[in-house]
Subunit: 438 residues, 4 copies
Amino acid sequence: MSESVFWRVDKIRYEGPESDNPLSFRYYDKDRRVLGKRLEDHLRVAVCYWHSFNWTGFDVFGAGTFDRPWFRVSNQLEAAEMKLKAAFEFFEKLGAPFFTFHDRDIAPEGATLKESNANLDRIIDKVEVEMQRTGVRLLWGTANLFSHPRYMGGAATNPDPEIFAYAAGQVRKMLDVTHRLNGENYVLWGGREGYETLLNTDMKREADQLGRFLSLVADYKHKIGFKGTLLIEPKPKEPTKHQYDYDTASVYAFLQRYRLEREYAVNIEANHAILSGHSFQHEVAYAIQNGIFGSIDMNRGDYLLGWDTDQFPNDVQEIALVMYTILKGGGFTTGGMNFDAKLRRQSIDPEDLFHAHIGGMDTLARGLLAAEKMITDGRLDAIVQERYAGWKGELGERILSGKASLADLSDLVLEKGIEPKARSGRQEFIENLLARYV
Amino acid sequence: MSESVFWRVDKIRYEGPESDNPLSFRYYDKDRRVLGKRLEDHLRVAVCYWHSFNWTGFDVFGAGTFDRPWFRVSNQLEAAEMKLKAAFEFFEKLGAPFFTFHDRDIAPEGATLKESNANLDRIIDKVEVEMQRTGVRLLWGTANLFSHPRYMGGAATNPDPEIFAYAAGQVRKMLDVTHRLNGENYVLWGGREGYETLLNTDMKREADQLGRFLSLVADYKHKIGFKGTLLIEPKPKEPTKHQYDYDTASVYAFLQRYRLEREYAVNIEANHAILSGHSFQHEVAYAIQNGIFGSIDMNRGDYLLGWDTDQFPNDVQEIALVMYTILKGGGFTTGGMNFDAKLRRQSIDPEDLFHAHIGGMDTLARGLLAAEKMITDGRLDAIVQERYAGWKGELGERILSGKASLADLSDLVLEKGIEPKARSGRQEFIENLLARYV
Amino acid sequence: MSESVFWRVDKIRYEGPESDNPLSFRYYDKDRRVLGKRLEDHLRVAVCYWHSFNWTGFDVFGAGTFDRPWFRVSNQLEAAEMKLKAAFEFFEKLGAPFFTFHDRDIAPEGATLKESNANLDRIIDKVEVEMQRTGVRLLWGTANLFSHPRYMGGAATNPDPEIFAYAAGQVRKMLDVTHRLNGENYVLWGGREGYETLLNTDMKREADQLGRFLSLVADYKHKIGFKGTLLIEPKPKEPTKHQYDYDTASVYAFLQRYRLEREYAVNIEANHAILSGHSFQHEVAYAIQNGIFGSIDMNRGDYLLGWDTDQFPNDVQEIALVMYTILKGGGFTTGGMNFDAKLRRQSIDPEDLFHAHIGGMDTLARGLLAAEKMITDGRLDAIVQERYAGWKGELGERILSGKASLADLSDLVLEKGIEPKARSGRQEFIENLLARYV
Amino acid sequence: MSESVFWRVDKIRYEGPESDNPLSFRYYDKDRRVLGKRLEDHLRVAVCYWHSFNWTGFDVFGAGTFDRPWFRVSNQLEAAEMKLKAAFEFFEKLGAPFFTFHDRDIAPEGATLKESNANLDRIIDKVEVEMQRTGVRLLWGTANLFSHPRYMGGAATNPDPEIFAYAAGQVRKMLDVTHRLNGENYVLWGGREGYETLLNTDMKREADQLGRFLSLVADYKHKIGFKGTLLIEPKPKEPTKHQYDYDTASVYAFLQRYRLEREYAVNIEANHAILSGHSFQHEVAYAIQNGIFGSIDMNRGDYLLGWDTDQFPNDVQEIALVMYTILKGGGFTTGGMNFDAKLRRQSIDPEDLFHAHIGGMDTLARGLLAAEKMITDGRLDAIVQERYAGWKGELGERILSGKASLADLSDLVLEKGIEPKARSGRQEFIENLLARYV
């Protein structure tokens, strides 16, 4: 179709590191075998609907800058269909195996929930056709419980139970839709589940409400037979001053408190990680160690800015460490790498959307290939194993197995006059080793 | 004794807000009745040994600036005794009901654990005498598991199990000492329980080690019949890049993971709270809501600096909110307000130590009196109650009791065409109300 | 007019600290004499148009929440007139002596600059009438050079000189308008004068462009005989990653570099100060010390958030210190206290706008009254004077007057064996003193 | 000498990227020609004395961890000599062309300035011999005006003029020493030139004192005929709450204010840059654009920590951008890359010091080689040139040359109905391009 916003771009192909074609992959070679699996199947890349097709380029200080044809159509269902075509054309040309969306990204909100649901049904029919046609799959669906003014004070944590009910209605519908589209996960991001000020907030009560909400969602999932994973996405702040799903540890505390730790995993976003004061790798490692790792919202933040910049990733070293951690944790099961990333507001050409995703996917591929080297080489792991070797000895075993009491250990030190010998942590040596892989 | 470092200062007395005597309290009227209890019994103020008597005024960029007589004595046990006298003279003149200390604050480390324990015993004999003489009590004791080079890679989380054992030896001794001195709590601050780099760290293993350590400590506490509360003190970073006890939520996740949530509570430090990205009030409220609130390390940080400045508190509004939260949570049981605060490095006169604590105690007292007004007045609470009133209605009850499923709620909204009515969050109104109390 | 959005509110009056009427001032007693001047004339409070009348309550994550009648009018000039009436009704009822606005706040942008100017002229005629009627004056005008997509890459610093010219056209018009309305200042906030990435930016060239722009503005001001002060408003980031007017020091460096330091002063915003890593008081003190202090954008930020929250001020201690600094610097001349502050997004009732401004004005008044006490009492100043007393002695004079060379001073120390005696900085003592005033 | 702390390490050689020898360079091939100059002459690497030979591994929470032989020698002059030998052995084995030191790093402080100077003279005699022997040169010298308690309230900005005089004595001596050793620069880092609280500070007076001090230093430099560059090192905070040399812009504002902008340049530290909220590249670009770029203190910080971690650099992409900026600015003249970086506290083996510097030098070399590609390729520069091409047209020239007034430009836009056409900023495209070089 000549009027397509992406007509100037052909299918993006892998052309190797030396290619001078900016509209090609240099590293993302989807069929390359990496540790016994296709590269594509390791990364499970998804394109998101909201940033790439709904966002106009506006920010708090200025109006939209992107001139996409569907922004100019006043009939919103028509606009949604036009957008849908463009989106699937993009997914297909890019070669992304997955996509993700909120209910309100893909179909317009109506005057009532009934109307909204009808709008959604109408568009989902067409989504199904496009998915069939292209083979693009749904990594996860989610409901937007934060943009409409009704949610200004939260959804599940709102002081008004009717708003809780409304949110329940939206989530139920989107779970149905996600199930229908064979989505591999369902995500809950607590957009306004938090507070602006403790002065008007009953935090305990809101936690109980949220616990109840998540229980209802898990129940419903089982009832309809949805086999995907339920995911919670931590974020420390923005839009609210304090978000309850602050970081993975907060979410883990919450899940245990409400006995939901087997029902939910986390969808970790790189930019959210650093906003909460942790490295991206830390959040992933923490989730894996506690059995709640699910999926990734892939982007990068700016360490010198205090808000979510949602830039496309370009730091191969960071990705290599994260991929190394994920691979050592067993790799993705239902999860994947969703580009929750947006163009810079000045990147107004449709081609920029390709450049952004190509750069992101190449970065992920380079990171994966570096992680492959780290694992194959084995030296990094050996250093860590060696460092803790003492714990495999007799004393270590006695301690960990609970055979030695505090008094026993104290007596041991007193009797033997133990003064442990210091050993180097070798951080710089290991950093140099890491530089060999990236 | 004429050579006392504090000889120029007499006992500090309450003289009322109009007093022009800088060495008097203007608000800290210990016997004043506040909500049915003595002001002193609400605040349970403690002076800490480490900052006030051990710290020389050094920092990373420069040598000590405080000329205290015990720093000039080369025999360390003699110095410890001289320091002890000065400390109790200070507690007494100030009128603080409690003090706190680490094992190594009060008695010098020896060449072996045995020697260190002997040093400790010798000084503790004298501490007991001083406590008897003055009536000053021990809010809590703790072991220093971070200053000696052996702990450079952590104590319980060290890659070397001998160091775990050494730490066990220290904690056992200090638990014994704390028990002997009728301490009301015992604190564990994970000074170097964290990592410098994930590259050389097995975070899962270290968590298991820490879980084991805390279990051993709890077992030992019960064995010796110590009735005080075990406290963990969250801190996000410094000295390590990442501390495992990052914030209260991280600690709560950890305690639940290792089934220790009934054995431990938290000792929340104001400065640590803001370093972890939370307000002081948030940390307190979160701990109370989850039943793990224990005690307070009272100080203030500088919001524009990224390290622990440990300044004395002077923000009445912040303290009022925190005291309001504590009082509504039932007030302190075994916990209290320990001044984990230090003089500025240029405040070299012995009198400065009095000014700092007087200012801090007056700030706490003003905060408490403001909180009393907030509670007595009741308007703040009424606004919050009113905001959530809907949850006491039928729909709210059905939701929270688990009677309504996701589908039920969805049906309700669809059938009734519910569109909840927006209500103002009234933040500015409430902030103006707050301004009436402080 | 019955349909007025503010019809439920009467004129706000001073009723004293004990008043229980939330729609009254408790401290802002405009005619009270403070250090020989009316309180109102010290503070010179202004209400801003953009946050209070144009902002819909939207944020990056959600739609507007405020239901103001002019948002529902489709004819934009009609809407502008309706808004204008509401704004002046508000100014009058509040009793604010000043207001401030951008060109695009008050009249809609047209298809061309010519149309925009015509729209502006039409509304300004009515503004003039309202100013006459109410006596409300214009603290400053400014041009919005950041919201329209044309400015996405900056205005004066844009890579396209036509955009520079367009910006020149807007500023010229708004300078004319400000002059016509007897505005006391004209403000330039470099909304997008900065960069997103250095990769596509020629920072040197952009600085030269900005220097040229500011020179042209100063020339034009003199040409038309505008006697108000030209002000630059520092901000470190947001919307751009790096704003050139980062903080007062950066602006001062720039002004000197382009020899404009006598043409421009700064308009310091409290929230911008902390985003740049400085205290509000620091920025004010720095500007005064270098002779470039102009005016204040009054608000507060949240120290734990990394973006401009633009909340209304409520920290009396901070305001007291700032007012003390301003008063010691001679007080405002053309400048004033503009509330560049916005309601929280949930504060949707029209009354909330009153509560917010009342709370802000009462906070300023309390701060001013505290500063008055600090000055009258004189102890704070005496301590500082005494601390530097040595510089009034012979050695100090010789050094500052340039009579002693480096070698002379070295010789002096060597010959006399000088080892200066340490003196306490007394910070805690002074903080306690400060607590007496607030 | 068998007892050398570094006896296990031989001279470090370049062995190429494939070398498996961790004690070899993989990229730092000092004689490689890069853009017409030897790699070594581009980078001008220096090793610093303070972190590498004086620091014991202590931090605020714990004692030193490094067991260097000179820490065990009680006679301080003997220790200084032993340290000196080790340092030069290290410089030589590493192959660093430069070193740097403070007066008190290299020789012990005496009871008086006279004694200190005598100590310094004695050691400098030996330094001269070692420099002769090894060919290692002095990049810069500096005086420590922050560690001794006398400087707790600042040196030049101290409230006591005698301390100013003492500091003058130290700087005079170190300027003499630096001159004698043919140092290429002399650095002033304002370690405690700042404040802890504005409450006890006369900031204007302190600025005047500092201006006077810097003038005296410049005068003395000319008097003795020292041809090196005088450098100021910006840092925003730590140890003080606010350092006057906050960032390069603050320094530039100050230098202009005191008419010193031709006498001083800046020594930019990577870690200090990010602590002040700027990227490292930004600080370098800003200094170059304003003609005050001097030298680099090479290290890296941790973006998630708020203090100076002084780690060795390992981010090739960051270094590539900085080297690109420096090369385009003409490269170093007297400046160089001083490793103001320290081992992690757990890196206690002497070999760790080699690993750290090798990793750092390899990172610099990789960055330089990437920058060479960026320059040779030319595409990055072409994109920027093209982006600003409009400014070389007629309108651009008229504006920049001052021929067009504000009114002229306004008239132009109004008459021609100009609405500039938007062009993409292409950030993601350029980031992908950058990924080709690193």
